[in-house]
Symmetry: C2
Subunit: 434 residues, 2 copies
């Protein structure tokens, strides 16, 4: 592996050379060089994270943090990546594809089946962190508005159970009751988190344009968001099978992928047009589409939509995670209170989710493991923080550099702590039972 290091140094120095280069070149050359750097960083980070038993996405994030803080050791040639419009746009498409993939993994039917436990676990797991996060904001950042405190609470709500699922699988517990409750709750959790995001963002937008925080206004946003979700799920499920059956008659290559992506992009835009985040639409699109809808394509031997989207997501999603890392300025931790905020947010995120244990109905279920399994935050926390960077109220950004860095720390710690703690808890329970 030693050959890698000189290669990497050479690689990282290229943009400096690029900036000295003749500006008459094709601008796409600069973009693909940035992409090459990001892809290599993502895979090296993913590798190292996997080696120490962590999810790859954590390594991508941490390698992004490293690249973004190279100026601390006097290396400035990657600074442009933080604000590059093309990379930002590609990361935005990456997040849409990520939520689309997450949605594709579950179906509406599965969501309806997971039952009372999951719904209760998810709801408590949203209320707990939301309240605690709001409280941490009010306590540590009293000079900021209540909007900002609410946003902080919202950023703590959504669970990212990819890592939990992997630990459960490694311990042969994938089919356990605990696993089904956690995975079911995580999907409901995503929906609830997106609803909260819609409400909080909507209230902030309204307040910024002079409107007041009326209950009617909140109700209206919640109604709009629910209507969009339920409406797109109901209408989408009716239209989707016909759409794909119609599309399957098109005699050209790549129709399934094009129609699937087109559907996802259209709903993303629609969500944005009615004031929600585009990811809400992408997630809804993923939930709606089921293998059954495009069986005409599968019958003639084409790959499933999930398989087709995978390489595109694996190309663009790391751009998002590395970019989030890049935007985490380690110097912000020198600012007074930021480390404290990061610690308090992390504790709020962990304790808040322990409320989930009370949502487990029935006996003989390992409640502690359910609460621990819901801890990791991952992508959704980052997406919230990133959207917060663009929201402004009374000339003040809802999420500033310091808060963004604190959220990144919260995501990293909650994700890293889950595998060992969950393993300990599951084994403790097995001993008790055995």
């Amino acid at each position: 592996m030693k050959l890698l290091y000189p290669l990497i140094c050479l690689f990282l120095a290229l943009p400096a050379w690029a900036q000295d280069e003749a500006p008459h070149g094709d601008p796409v050359a600069g973009v693909v060089l940035s992409l090459a750097i990001i892809l290599v960083a993502a895979k090296l980070g993913g590798h190292l994270a996997t080696r120490i038993g962590q999810p790859a996405v954590l390594g991508e994030l941490v390698f992004g943090v490293i690249l973004g803080n190279l100026p601390l050791i006097g290396f400035h040639s990657l600074e442009y990546l933080k604000t590059d419009a093309s990379i930002d746009m590609l990361a935005g498409i990456g997040v849409i594809l990520l939520l689309f993939s997450v949605g594709l993994e579950s179906t509406i039917g599965q969501m309806l089946q997971v039952g009372a436990s999951s719904l209760l676990v998810a709801t408590l797991g949203v209320i707990g962190p939301f309240a605690l996060g709001w409280g941490v904001g009010a306590w540590l950042l009293p000079e900021h508005s209540a909007y900002m405190h609410a946003y902080l609470g919202a950023a703590l709500t959504a669970t990212s159970v990819g890592i939990t699922a992997r630990v459960l699988r490694a311990l042969g517990k994938s089919q356990s009751k605990e696993a089904r409750i956690i995975l079911g709750a995580a999907v409901i959790d995503d929906v609830q988190g997106l609803l909260i995001l819609a409400v909080v963002s909507g209230v902030i937008s309204a307040a910024n344009t002079g409107g007041a925080l009326s209950y009617l206004g909140i109700g209206l946003i919640l109604f709009k968001a629910s209507l969009f979700l339920v409406g797109s799920l109901v209408i989408g499920s009716k239209i989707s099978p016909r759409l794909f059956s119609l599309a399957s008659r098109l005699e050209t290559h790549g129709v399934l992928l094009a129609v699937g992506l087109g559907f996802c992009f259209l709903l993303s835009w629609l969500a944005s047009a009615i004031g929600l985040a585009p990811i809400v639409g992408a997630f809804a699109a993923g939930l709606i589409l089921e293998d059954l809808h495009y069986r005409d394509f599968k019958d003639r031997g084409e790959h499933s939509l999930e398989k087709l989207v995978e390489p595109i997501a694996s190309f663009l999603v790391p751009v998002f995670f590395v970019l989030m890392g890049l935007r985490t300025d380690l110097r912000s931790f020198a600012a007074p209170g930021v480390l404290g905020l990061a610690a308090a947010l992390t504790v709020a995120a962990i304790i808040g989710k322990q409320l989930c244990s009370f949502g487990v109905l029935g006996k003989g279920i390992d409640r502690l493991s359910v609460g621990i399994g819901m801890i990791p935050r991952g992508e959704v926390g980052l997406i919230f923080a990133n959207i917060g960077l663009t929201l402004v109220i009374a000339g003040e950004r809802i999420v500033d550099q310091n808060v963004f860095s604190a959220v990144v720390v919260m995501v990293i710690v909650t994700t890293m702590m889950t595998p060992p703690v969950l393993k300990w808890s599951l084994e403790r329970n097995a001993k008790k039972a055995g």
Copy 2:
């Protein structure tokens, strides 16, 4: 299929609504809506083209022309697509992936094997159209510079044999001597076309910054371009197996795709950094990479790089073709001489390639079919024309809207005429032989 038409009209009207919408939304929402429109247009166009026995890419191009000329019937909401920076960038990445895929389909070894006939056929097939194209420019556009005439010649050189390959396959002639000569020549042809593009673009850039058209300068560019191609092929072939063997030890998902794309992007940027078009680097990267280099990945059951790049290309390449169509302004054909220029260029492109027949060595080979099989232009002509749109000399664009439209007509006609004419020629020869 009738349900499609109201759906399409609704769809096309969305951007008008989008522009009235609140500007505070996520900018990525506008980009994905554009992508959805482009993907649907591409697949509908591809379908109709396939139905009438034409290559899908032609339908994508023609549907782009239709979308781009909707203002003629008073519909203006898609006008922004022609100049949208994000779409232009995504199309640029699409072209790089297209040339990478083309390169991946052949190996350096195959190129060295195709033998004297292919080399001779390719060389004559580049000289003929280049000279005739230059001549057409000098004849019909005498008010423009010689640089522009040379560029016009260069745009006629490269063959796009995808359509020829498909006709040969349909007639059971894939393994014939004619097929091998044509396919071999097309690859060499691509290399020669890229070299000519490098020389002509370089000379134009030099002339624009005050330099003169010296033989030394041309020699230098040709030397640089050859050095890049040969150098990257030689060094790349040495490094690539080690790079992939090293990368195969990385324990995370999507490494093969990331390293393959990273390699392609790095060479694209390197080509651009020494003054060549990024596509030259992408093509070289594709030629270098062979299945053998990443057998460690394949041994553990991963898909080949070609298969992994396919969905990404099938997402982004149509963006390029539709955009090229969008930029073709049908009104330019009303300008005096444009239809004549289109006709003359088309004739030059067809006749120029008939020189190929003289390059066929050996007896009993259907020379006429070889010449006809080399006629289609397709993507490379469009790429040249598109690069020409960005080249300026003495304040005048090398390729203006009128010339661009004429080149698009040449591409469409040469591609459409090949299947029926080639079929006639092959059957005529079979009758003679039988």
